[in-house]
């Protein structure tokens, strides 16, 4: 493992996204859901940044912020050192084709009334491929690239299996020739055997096309497999606990069983300090006091934890 490459394709600084919680007759704002609360990240070019976190901790919201599908309340997003945080729709256009997304749910991610071919063609149209025959040919190429036969272009989503739909979704993302793909739990909804195929496909594409990935998952095994760099929540005592509770494929490796206890903190007005304070076995007073700075530990692993900082 190398240290963080200087070549950063996307940088997020102090990103925050709060959703107001409205209650009552007048819909007054009663509080805030802090879905994304002060995230800094750097996605290295042609490599993978892994992002791990439990369900509901704001991973998808972060993905939407990065893609500019949603505006952060605070913070900046730099694409290759250009600030794109407040670009208008029109100004954003050239950046749209640079960043794409792959979704978790293979059922919701494809329009049920469009054939796979038409779905993929949408991207080709937005990059200005006017000629119909050219588009059809490109669709066949893209399908082949994701391991699908050309005739799949005329099929509707309900005719595909989950893994096949994911492949069509990947082909759609590739249609605009992006540099960065945000994979929002792309294999969480799939069978284990098919997960491996899709992960291999993604790695192969990365190698062939020089793609950068932000790889989101709640499965540490998957993220380990995909990434050189793992963001946050690693290397602190909490993630040791997560690793410990993870099934170990190799029986020769022994891990001390360290069950997770305590509650996931509510994203609705969360307590200050470390997000793992309720569950961390090593929690101390200062963990509950203030924000903890991001610290680069052990090469590429980024951590927010007093224990690592103070080592």
């Amino acid at each position: 493992m190398t240290t963080l490459a200087n070549n950063i394709i996307l940088r997020g600084q102090g990103l925050r996204r709060y959703f107001p919680v409205r209650r009552g007759f007048l819909q007054r704002v009663m509080g805030w859901i802090k879905a994304v609360d002060g995230v800094d990240l750097k996605i290295p070019a042609a490599r993978t940044l892994g992002l791990v976190g439990e369900s509901g901790c704001g991973k998808s919201t972060l993905a939407r912020l990065i893609l500019k599908l949603d505006e952060p309340n605070e913070g900046t997003i730099l694409y290759r050192d250009r600030d794109i945080t407040h670009l208008s729709r029109e100004e954003m256009k050239p950046y749209r084709r640079k960043m794409q997304i792959i979704f978790q749910d293979p059922y919701g991610s494809l329009n049920p009334r469009m054939t796979a071919g038409h779905t993929i063609e949408e991207g080709l149209r937005t990059i200005g491929l006017k000629d119909r025959d050219q588009r059809r040919r490109r669709v066949a190429e893209l399908l082949e690239k994701v391991g699908m036969p050309a005739w799949a272009a005329d099929r509707y989503p309900h005719e595909f299996s989950g893994g096949q739909r994911q492949r069509v979704g990947i082909a759609r993302a590739l249609s605009v020739e992006p540099e960065l793909i945000i994979c929002d739990e792309p294999v969480s909804a799939l069978d284990v055997s098919i997960q491996a195929q899709i992960l291999n496909l993604l790695r192969g594409l990365q190698r062939d096309l020089g793609l950068s990935y932000l790889f989101i998952s709640h499965d540490l095994n998957v993220v380990e497999y995909m990434s050189e760099v793992v963001y946050d929540k690693h290397l602190n005592p909490y993630s040791d606990a997560l690793f410990a509770s993870m099934p170990v494929p190799d029986p020769a490796v022994k891990r001390i069983w360290q069950p997770l206890a305590g509650d996931v903190p509510s994203p609705f007005n969360p307590p200050p300090g470390c997000k793992f304070q309720n569950r961390c076995p090593l929690v101390e007073d200062r963990c509950r006091a203030a924000e903890i700075p991001l610290y680069q530990a052990n090469g590429d692993h980024l951590v927010r934890c007093w224990k690592v900082l103070g080592r």
């Binding site: 749209r96 991610s109 790695r203």
Partner: protein
């Protein structure tokens, strides 16, 4: 890392595409199971065929069946009675020689009149519902897609100015009219353009948000729903010259609320779907997202409510004609045949029962078919098969 590089394409899983089963075929299987809906559809198609045939048979210079030919000597003949050849001039004799459904108080052929009325019902039903669906889809779509968009003081002023221009066009005399319209439209245009280009260059109160698009449209829907729609139609029709086109338009613009609500609800949920997010991320335009991704997926409930709406429109037209506010005589509609016939309820009951039953059967069949469609188009039901 090396083991990862194997097996990128042509995996066995990727090749196994299940056998194709056409959507239409699947729908047909579901429809066949639902007997009532199937019966509804058959009657729906029959009615369609009869109405179209009726239009051809009853119009033109010398129609095969003349709905307006008066034969006073043959009045109130019961159904299936033969024409009395002795008392009629040759051109007055019906082509079949039989009054299939009898004659009315003026000796007009009820069969011919029913055919003409079927065409009226069909066109009123479809055109009125067409108008309602277009209004409903546009307003519901706006509310669902741009719902959070603010309506500012500037926007309201622009609309008022355009409204003023319309009034000026209608009332002011000659050259003043042109001036008024040009000034109002220009002001509105300047307001909108300036706010788009240089929001800082205008007084800030213009940017104050009054409402959101969604609040405005849902408010309008609620207001429209407050009026009992038949009386609303009756009021408007009473103020307008009686004509079949006015009836269609009035029924249409008073019955779009259901479609608008359905479309709004569908759009709200579709907007959050991943495939719409993906299209946005690809940079697909708003218009294309609306018409290629959202409308096709939002149409199922609209189709259902439209089918049931046709029944409602047919009933509304019949009701209006029955009350004498509908299509003006001598044009026959089921409503005015019924209305004329009620005076002879005991002497010539067929004049009441025939149009009455026709209305009942057609309205019922549209309702049953609409409800069957709802079941068929329900994706949850579909997945079970």
């Amino acid at each position: 890392m090396s083991h990862a590089d194997r097996n990128i394409t042509g995996t066995p899983e990727a090749l196994a595409v299940p056998a194709r089963r056409a959507r239409l075929q699947e729908s047909w299987i579901l429809l066949r199971r639902n007997r009532l809906a199937l019966a509804g559809m058959v009657i729906f198609l029959l009615f369609f065929a009869v109405a179209v045939a009726g239009m051809f048979l009853t119009t033109g210079t010398s129609p095969a069946l003349d709905p307006n030919l008066v034969r006073l000597q043959e009045k109130l003949r019961p159904p299936l009675s033969r024409a009395n050849l002795n008392s009629l001039r040759p051109e007055e004799v019906p082509k079949s020689g039989v009054y299939l459904l009898g004659t009315d108080e003026l000796g007009r052929d009820v069969f011919a009149r029913m055919l003409q009325g079927a065409w009226v019902s069909l066109t009123v039903g479809f055109v009125a519902v067409g108008i309602a669906v277009v209004i409903g889809v546009v307003l519901g779509g706006l509310a669902g897609y741009f719902g959070r968009g603010p309506i500012t003081v500037a926007g309201v002023l622009a609309v008022l100015l355009l409204g003023g221009a319309a009034v000026a066009a209608g009332t002011l005399p000659g050259s003043l009219r042109v001036l008024g319209v040009v000034v109002a439209v220009a002001l509105a245009g300047v307001l909108v353009l300036l706010r788009r280009r240089r929001p800082g260059g205008l007084p800030s109160f213009l940017g104050l948000q009054i409402l959101t698009v969604d609040m405005l449209i849902t408010g309008l829907i609620d207001i429209m729903l407050c009026f009992p729609s038949f009386f609303l139609i009756l009021t408007v029709v009473a103020l307008l010259p009686a004509s079949i086109y006015n009836i269609m338009v009035v029924i249409g613009i008073t019955s779009w609320m259901g479609a608008a609500r359905f479309v709004r609800a569908e759009f709200l949920s579709l907007r959050e779907q991943d495939f719409v997010t993906a299209a946005t991320a690809l940079g697909v335009s708003d218009l294309r997202i609306i018409f290629r991704h959202m409308v096709p997926n939002a149409m199922a409930p609209v189709l259902v409510s439209a089918t049931i709406g046709i029944a409602g429109a047919i009933l509304a037209e019949a009701g209006l004609s029955f009350l004498g506010f509908g299509v003006p005589p001598p044009h026959a509609t089921w409503g005015n045949i019924l209305s004329d016939g009620k005076n002879y309820l005991f002497d010539a009951p067929w004049l009441t029962y025939i149009p009455g039953c026709a209305i009942l059967v057609v309205v019922l069949s549209f309702n049953l078919f609409g409800e069957g469609l709802r079941d068929i188009l329900n994706p949850k039901l579909r997945e079970r098969h």
